[in-house]
Amino acid sequence: MKKALLISLMVILALLVLLPFLWTFSTSLKPLNEVNKYPPEWTSVNMSLKPYSDMFFYLPFSTYTLNSLIVAFSSTILTLLIGSLAAFAFSRFQFAGKNVFLLIFLLSQMLPGASVIIPLFQLLQKVGLYDTHLGLILVHTAFLLPFVIWLLYGFFLAIPRDVEDAALIDGCSRMQALRKVILPLALPGMGATALFAFLGSWNEFFFALLLTSSDSTKTIPVGIGLFVGEYLDVWNQMAAAAVLFSLPPLILFLFTRKTFVKGLVAGAYR
């Protein structure tokens, strides 16, 4: 009895929590005349996937999708490359100033985007990287780095020193040990970190909004964020874009929940 009560409470709460998404999903399948109808209805016989194809046809979402993929993939790779070098240094060496460097990375993670955006905007304009993929990739990389370093640092620390020492005795150099011993062992952790980085860049809105201006560089969140208000009349296509854009994070989350939650908890304490 008590269990049944708890379960019904859980179901009701789940529906309540997911209400905005459920309503958006329902909207994304409706023809326009039923979107703007009162009283609103959850389902209709005229539901179809047409808004999904319309959105690529009438709104520039195919370009936006390509831009988002380019920026998120490049930022992820760049962040992981640079981050694993730094994490290797932190986890395997004792050196003067180590704690200061760790603190610098921790602090840069706290930095509000609003307090650096103007100089970054000026700098990118000066060097001709404003409104380019590369400019946005560099900024995303810089902002993802601290968190990625913290995560990788933790994963690297968990790899036993003995394995690496054995490799060194066998005549590997330190860098060879990183490449041939640590990286393969850290692969699951690297994978999880890559997902964080990818989602961080994929979902990022503030810099993408203010450091791009033309359709050929805008990412999907910028498209959605700007169109709300401008194209009020095509709520169904906007909803379709929102649903499609949410799929990668949702799928990744579904398959990496355990690591995701662990990373969340660890990230907050470090």
Partner: protein
Amino acid sequence: MKKSLPYLLLVPALLFTVFVLVYPLVQNLINSVCDVSMIRGSNGWVGLHNYERIFNDTLFWHSFRNTAIYAIVGTLLALLVGLGFALLLNMKLGRISSIASFLYTIPWVISPVVAGFAWKWILNDRFGIVNYWLASAGIVKLGTSWLGDPGTALFCVMLARIWQFYPFAMVMFLAGLQTIPQEQYEAAAVDGATMVRRFFYITLPNLKSVSSVLLVLGVIWSFNDFNMVFVMTRGGPMNSSMVLPVLVRELSFVHFDLGRGSALSIVIFVLLVSLSYLYLKLIGGRESA
């Protein structure tokens, strides 16, 4: 060579940190004491004029108040909601709890832009499902514009923000709940303590450190939050839901006054550093305890 290797490994990461941390701060300081405009160009030193204009501007104080309410009240409520959900999930109903915790975490995983869009759409004055339900129940009259009314706009954005942030608190509280030694509850049960007493004397004290970390992190993140406000209201109507990060964009990229925008950035930075200091104290204290 051996000694310099760790430093060499850090160089790329440090270059990026300089690029987003050191350079912008220095440049912001320079901007903030100059007249820099995207239209009129750079016109040199003006002293503290930009700061003076900000502190004499009622819009700044209004936004500051909004940001504080949004960050503090929003975070406190999100923590309460998160704690409730965590307690529910901690009832250990096996697979059902696991599915529920997945569903309850979704708002945190989804892009804030999509979240803002979805909330804006369910709150739509004419075709939103919320207004339809409330009007059908006779609570409000149809066409009530929640986001178009200066009296309710900030409140609505805060509601969406709470909805977006509570899963983080939930996950952290759940992790905290699972570290409470079961013996404490057993001992209390033997002593005949009621469930309510057990909650207040065992559960809550054990969650103290998690709560304080969550509170500070939540306030910092919400203080910085640009996305939800921008997507849902852009700070309007009539600046009623304006917050500091959105105001920076307004000054710099709508009024093209980079000098004043930079001065506001510095003010935000100083506020944030104070909050971060508090956070470092908290996690530092936790480790030594």
